[in-house]
Amino acid sequence: MQSPLGKMKYALAFLFVLLAANFLMAQTVREGAGVNRAPDGAGHGTHEVAPSNNAQAGPIGFTVNTGNGINYNGGPVMKGTVNAYIIWYGNWNGTGSNTAATRSAIETFLGTIGGSALELVNTTYGDNTGNVSGAVHFGGSTIVSATQNLTDARVQTQVNNAITSGRLPRDTNGVYFVLSSSNINETSGFCTRYCGWHTRATLGGSDIKYSFVGNVDRCPSGCEIQTTGPNSAAVGQGGIDGMANTMSHELEEAISDPDLNAWFDSSGQENGDKCNFNFGATSTCNANGLCTASGTSAAAKYNQTFGGHNYMLQQNWRNSGGGACAQHL
């Protein structure tokens, strides 16, 4: 038989456990509350940041370079090798640029962008424990045949389904791309407001970074760079190159600002936003024979070469030397 004091001890222990659980649940609910990016309308997120102590104190570690037109707000960057995954949503065995050839080209692109001149620009970003490495690995893909349009919530559901079903691994150092074929709309503003976006969510207890990018052939004037790109399978199919461009933008941002609380400027622009559709110096296809026949015949422009292909990719904001849009370090 227990003494009243013993009972009291049990009760207090139970109370403590409850309080702890309560606190943890509150943390889960509040997570991300420090940074509130209200959509500002131009379809861009506006940061309304409750600055962390780190941000107020300025640079703490040598890995955090400031004074280059973009600010560190205290959150982590993605370090080491970042794994990129793809969920092919819609009809990717279709016509135009919605084909297996496009899937293969985009997967090659993601598999070779790591260590490229452009990706190394991202190594100028870091947090208090280290820098972005510039290494990217293509971690795999899955196909979801569907006709239903996407919404922001459905994009997240697709990512969650791919992970929980085991089609893609659960990877907190990954970026999951949901890529839709051109017959699919993302109803929150694809083509009229944006060409793609990235965000994060806690899925199954893990911090998962993901991005939506639609096939730009849905709206050439909105999101395509050029009608025929260096990787176009046919004249007038700019899908591969337009998507690669948006994907590089989202990838750089997801790596340098994965939880939406690391690197962005005073007006809420992340590194990719600061150079949106800004390509710098370009070359013309046929210069080195790495463009497709269509790209060459259309004299398509490119500004990056890696993995045996030419690409037309927007520049990334270099967080050094005062800051600038850059194709390379």
């Binding site: 009760a11 309308g41 379809g43 009229t192 999101c223 936003d273």
Partner: protein, 170 residues
């Protein structure tokens, strides 16, 4: 006994707090890549506002088609040149502005853009600040895009408390 009662109350409170939490957590904000048209036409809109702010009449005039008209609720269309006269008047002052919720649709011969404008302004010394919902129709004139029609409606009498400054993203 008393401890148990307290515990029961505490558990009750805890359960009721968590029961009120939304079952579906709100999605985190997404950070988007603006389309080419959004980038291009938000730049044009900002150029127009800067011309109004700096009272550079020729610059503003060059951005409007000859038969540009401004449509507002419960009013006849305002010809473009009359609108220019009104914003160029000495007693009107546009102090600051910001655009948000920008979208752009390419209709082939025209581009239709929609945005919300927040501005701080005075007319004859009186506060004329406010928020507006704007739909603009831009048409190509040679190599230049010009404003052909504007449909505008005031949505708030005064600008909201949020700081008014160009975000640089429109």
């Amino acid at each position: 006994m008393r401890v148990h009662s307290l515990l029961a109350i505490f558990i009750g409170i805890t359960v009721s707090i968590h029961a009120q939490e939304p079952v579906k957590p709100k999605l985190n904000p997404r950070i988007v890549t603006a389309t080419r048209l959004v980038t291009q036409f938000s730049d044009l809109e900002l150029q127009m506002l800067k011309a109004v702010q700096k009272k550079t009449q020729p610059a503003l005039q060059a951005m409007l088609t000859d038969d540009c008209a401004i449509e507002m609720p419960n009013a006849d269309p305002l010809p473009g040149e009359d609108w220019i006269d009104s914003v160029m008047a000495k007693d009107y002052s546009l102090k600051s502005f910001a655009l948000r919720e920008f979208s752009a649709v390419d209709l082939g011969t025209a581009v239709v853009v929609k945005f919300e404008r927040r501005e701080s302004a005075t007319l004859k010394g009186k506060n004329e600040s406010g928020e507006f919902f704007v739909v603009d129709v831009w048409k190509k004139d040679g190599e230049k895009w010009k404003l052909a029609n504007r449909f505008v409606s005031r949505t708030a009498a005064t600008a909201s408390k949020a700081p008014i400054k160009p975000t640089g993203k429109q």
